[in-house]
């Protein structure tokens, strides 16, 4: 359970970061009006959320008591 949830949190966090960078933000285009807006608003916020979730997994791993 501990490993399971921790892994899910890390994967979810990384997934959110990758998703936000590649699909929601506009990392590569420069000279078009569309590029001044992220494809989805708050892409940067999602990126940070991803970081937070990924690192929170450490807290869970350490604090979780086990299923007794």
């Amino acid at each position: 359970m501990r490993r399971y949830v921790t892994t899910i949190m890390i994967v979810a966090g990384l997934g959110l970061m990758i998703l936000s960078y590649t699909a929601m933000a506009t990392p590569q285009c420069n000279t078009s009006v569309a590029c001044s807006n992220p494809k989805v608003s708050f892409a940067a916020g999602v990126f940070i959320l991803g970081i937070v979730i990924a690192f929170s997994s450490a807290v869970f791993y350490s604090v979780y008591k086990g299923t007794k």
Binding site: T26, P38, G45, I51, F55, S56, A58, V59, S62, V63
Partner: protein, 440 residues
């Protein structure tokens, strides 16, 4: 190998008496109150200056536009933002040295380092907020519209969010055991400790778990550290529009100078904590000598980078680089430049001497800590400001920039705020990890 990671070689601290918390936690001595009030006053002056700036615009500072206004648009705030972010280097590096390279002599200063990282990152974020007229708009828009192309995207996602959060997690995970120990005693913070401990039980299994967590955290935060400090370097190193900025050496140079200022700060803070919390028996000369060696390595690397940089801008400079290098080496900024070089070189000599004789003195190591921080602040200023006032690419007049009292008040206010955070932390939680008293 026993379950504990902390060696028990040091004599016991004074925290064995029941009821009383160790390291003078919760005891408000007169000198601490004086410190607290003084720092609060300086912070208040800084806050007043900030309000002045918010109400009247940045016109109240010494900053002015580039080009026709012949000023510097980035000044003290940005220089100190870079400096504060640099100081954050200390915590995770020490953590990594302990967890990955098993230099356990550094264990007593680990939490000081982590705290320094967290506090300096907060100060860095506040310094950049002080530079903005619309801080709330900035916070919302950065989250809402943040663009990965901008080097600032990296600094606020990687540094201010990622690095800060990761450091907080690390600080928390490594503090739970102490919270659990303290929660067993009667004190006014008992409920806080119990909350922080979150059901911690000091068992072999738990210790093994924590060791694994901290090891992997150190492993993952270490690359984050390099990325974070590099992104701050990229803010300058990717810009061809100003002389002296564009270059591949900026990012690694930022990482290394960050290390120099961070470890230097940690040395100073460790010395203060050592005498303020009566932990002279815990934080020994060994910790200082390790920090000194680490600082020496980083410092020599940085001096090498500086030599490379000077040679590059003086050997065959373009017109604007020439103007800039003259201003740096023999002109307006020469006293800052040579002052910085002198303090860094003197610090290096002091450390080399101690390393060669193998006789480390806490006083001397602390002196190098002070010197390298003077050098680091000066170098940060010289990265930010001269490229804006000198060597403009169009025939604008040479600019000038003198920080005024508003900027200094805010910067000192930030330092005082940082000191307050650390001072209050010291009165609530043991800043030096408690000793391993028994093995469960």
């Amino acid at each position: 190998m026993t379950a504990g990671t902390i060696p028990t070689t040091e004599p016991k601290g004074g925290h064995q008496s029941t009821g009383e918390l160790p390291q003078k936690i919760g005891q408000l001595s007169p000198s601490w109150i004086v410190f607290f009030v003084a720092m609060l006053a300086v912070t208040a002056v800084g806050f007043y200056a900030y309000l002045l700036q918010v109400n009247n615009g940045l016109i109240v500072t010494g900053l002015r536009g580039l080009g026709t206004m012949a000023g510097a648009t980035w000044g003290l705030y940005v220089a100190y933002y870079v400096y504060f972010i640099g100081v954050s280097f200390a915590g995770i590096t020490v953590a990594a040295l302990i967890r990955i390279f098993r230099i356990e002599k550094l264990e007593p200063v680990a939490r000081i380092g982590e705290l320094l990282t967290v506090v300096s990152l907060i100060l860095g974020a506040l310094a950049i907020m002080a530079d903005l007229e619309h801080p709330w708009r900035a916070i919302v828009n950065l989250f809402k519209y943040g663009r990965p192309q901008s080097p600032f995207f990296g600094t606020f996602t990687m540094v201010i969010a990622g690095y800060l959060f990761a450091s907080l997690v690390y600080l928390y995970v490594t503090s739970r055991r102490d919270a659990a120990l303290l929660a067993e005693r009667d004190s006014r913070f008992k409920r806080l400790y119990r909350f922080l401990a979150a059901g911690y039980t000091d068992t072999r299994a738990q210790r093994r778990l924590d060791r694994r967590v901290t090891f992997w955290l150190a492993i993952t935060i270490l690359p984050l550290l390099v990325i974070a400090h590099s992104t701050v370097g990229f803010v300058f190193g990717l810009q061809a529009g100003r002389p002296g900025w564009f270059g591949a050496l900026q990012a690694p140079g930022f990482v290394v100078l960050a290390g120099v200022s961070g470890i230097g700060n940690l040395i100073m803070l460790a010395a203060i904590v050592r005498s303020a919390t009566r932990t002279k028996g815990r934080i020994t000369i060994d910790a200082f000598s390790w920090l000194g060696k680490l600082l020496l390595g980083l410092l020599i690397t940085y001096l090498y980078f500086t030599a490379v940089e000077i040679l590059t801008i003086t050997y065959q400079p373009g017109a604007s680089e020439l103007t800039l290098s003259e201003a740096l080496l023999s002109g307006t900024y020469a006293w800052i430049f040579w002052g910085a070089i002198a303090s860094l070189v003197i610090a290096a000599v002091l450390l080399i001497w101690q390393a060669l004789t193998r006789r480390w003195s806490i006083g001397l190591v602390v002196a190098t800590g002070v010197l390298v921080n003077i050098g680091a602040v000066a170098k940060r200023y010289l990265i930010v400001v001269p490229s804006q006032t000198h060597g403009q690419l169009l025939p604008y007049s040479t600019g000038t920039y003198t920080p005024n009292w508003v900027e200094w008040a805010i910067v000192f206010g930030l330092f005082a705020l940082g000191a307050l955070m650390i001072g209050v932390f010291m009165k609530i939680f043991p800043i030096v990890p408690l000793e391993e008293t028994d093995t469960p």
